[in-house]
């Protein structure tokens, strides 16, 4: 086996050249920027769904024994199932339906035309557990003295939630969001590699692999890493700013 073959290992300059031209068209599929925007919008939408359901559910399960008893068994069974294991199932169920079709927009092209429901489901599933479990943990570790102080100062249940339990568990929730976003990003790449996808950075990897365009493939991998790191730093930056108190408390 000879590694000195651009179809196996491209030259560094070739990869670099791809990276410095992010707007250049690649194999008639669009540019890196376009593929990243497609992947990122799938992730953002799925991740938002996961946060929208995971945080409130986590707050309830963490606080009320009834919800804990209701949801814990289901969640413990679903949790060990890797999100990637759900990809074939999601493809079978949702086929290639997109968010645009779901809302009846069929003949205009928009970013929603690229967001397949199956992918959304898988990202949601990947993001949900870290968000949900961290929220539960955050709520359960709110110090009792804060809750009692608030009650003694006249707080009722819903104000207690809004003004004490939520802010007190916010740092832990943000950790969950950060982990969840990371997993969502990983999962989307896997989902895009499967048949039925038409765009996205994962799709580009498989397509360039098929055409033995290794420079595009490796530049894509570098970009996946960079975008993932950027997302993670973004959430970390946000959480450091909103919970200075927690860092200083310890």
């Amino acid at each position: 086996m000879k590694l000195d073959n651009p179809a196996l290992l491209p030259r560094v300059e070739a990869v670099f050249d791809r990276l410095v031209h992010p707007f250049a068209d690649l194999l008639d599929t669009g540019s890196y920027v376009r593929h990243i925007i497609v992947s990122a919008s799938r992730v953002v939408l799925g991740f938002l769904l996961a946060a929208l359901i995971g945080i409130p559910l986590g707050l309830l399960v963490g606080r009320y024994l009834l919800f804990h008893r209701l949801f814990s068994p289901i969640i413990e069974i679903l949790r060990p199932l890797c999100p990637i294991a759900w990809i074939p199932f999601a493809l079978a169920i949702f086929k290639t339906y997109t968010v645009a079709q779901l809302f009846g927009v069929r003949y205009t092209t928009s970013i929603f035309g690229h967001i397949q429901l199956g992918m959304l489901f898988v990202i949601f599933y990947g993001g949900f557990f870290p968000i949900f479990l961290n929220t539960v943990h955050g709520v359960k570790s709110v110090k009792n003295i804060f809750i009692e102080s608030a009650l003694l100062l006249g707080a009722e249940q819903h104000k207690l939630f809004r003004k004490v339990i939520f802010p007190a568990s916010q740092p832990t929730i943000l950790t969950g969001l950060r982990v969840g976003l990371g997993i969502s990003w990983m999962v989307i790449i896997a989902a895009e590699m499967l048949p039925g996808s038409d765009a996205g950075i994962g799709y580009l990897i498989m397509f360039s692999y098929a055409l033995a365009e290794m420079d595009i493939l490796i530049a894509s991998m570098i970009l996946i890493g960079a975008v993932g790191a950027l997302l993670s730093y973004g959430v970390k930056f946000m959480s450091d700013r909103t919970s200075v108190w927690q860092a200083k408390e310890r």
Partner: protein, 258 residues
């Protein structure tokens, strides 16, 4: 009818080995409006439990507690409690901690900040409104906790060894401040401590508690003029009397153990 009446209160806990532990038994006392009542007793005699019952955080197994003729049945706006441990909300600035109870009552920001600033200056912390609890010393944190409790405007202020974790100099200074606040605000105060000196310095009346099960042993009316001198003969006389009482409690305990 007294302002606060505790009638034959009994409180039982379940211990770690599922055994019954009687924390308080047949405990009764009253407190008049405007009084500064101190409760002293050895560690573990149920002082904290007693305050939690009066605050409505817990309910007695038998007996009842009345505040101004109303039976205490759960939390009520007439009472609030300052804990020994630091209890400020760490994600809120000093002013937002003090204004918390007003925020709960939906008082608008301008008014609650104006009122909170007054309470902050009352505890001598003007200029620290925007500071966060982690930036404050222990003594300052307890001052904020007292301001936060006062801002709730309780008729009865309960304090559970609020200065217990502080060094002696800070403790003495806060005791003086608390007294001047009590005189200005005309509150009824029930203050729990295990330090005899603190009780004599503050109280208009002292209840001595004993343990196993917790109950009131004796009471002393402290009629010394304020500000009280810790080294005056009368102060020291009270100190010796209460100390003797303490020792009696502890030795009878040892006899019971034998």
């Amino acid at each position: 009818m007294p302002f606060l009446a505790v009638n034959k209160v009994k409180k039982v806990y379940w211990g770690e080995r599922k055994e019954e532990v009687t924390a308080l038994s047949d405990l009764s006392f009253t407190c008049e409006q405007g009084e500064f009542l101190c409760i002293v007793g050895p560690t573990g005699c149920g002082k904290t439990t007693l305050l939690r019952l009066i605050a409505g955080l817990e309910r007695p197994n038998s007996g009842d507690i009345h505040i101004q003729d109303t039976i205490v049945d759960g939390l009520n706006p007439a009472t609030t409690l300052v804990f020994q441990q630091y209890s400020l909300f760490p994600w809120r600035s000093v002013i937002d901690n003090v204004a918390f109870s007003m925020e709960i009552k939906n008082i608008n920001k301008r008014e609650r900040y104006a009122q909170a600033s007054q309470f902050i200056s009352l505890v001598g912390l003007s200029g620290f409104e925007q500071a966060f609890p982690y930036e404050l010393s222990g003594g300052m944190q307890q001052r904020v906790a007292i301001a936060r409790a006062l801002a709730h405007d309780p008729k009865l202020l309960l304090l559970d060894e609020p200065f217990g974790a502080l060094d002696e100099r800070t403790r003495h200074r806060l005791q003086e401040e608390l007294l001047s606040i009590w005189q200005q605000q005309a509150k009824t105060v029930v203050f729990v401590t295990h330090t005899i000196d603190e009780a004599i310095f503050l109280a208009s009346r002292i209840l001595v508690m004993r343990d196993r099960p917790g109950r009131i042993e004796t009471e002393y009316k402290i009629n010394l003029p304020r500000p009280r001198k810790r080294r005056s003969k009368e102060f020291l006389d009270f100190h010796i009397k209460i100390r003797e009482e303490f020792e009696k409690i502890l030795t009878t305990d040892e006899k019971e153990d034998e």
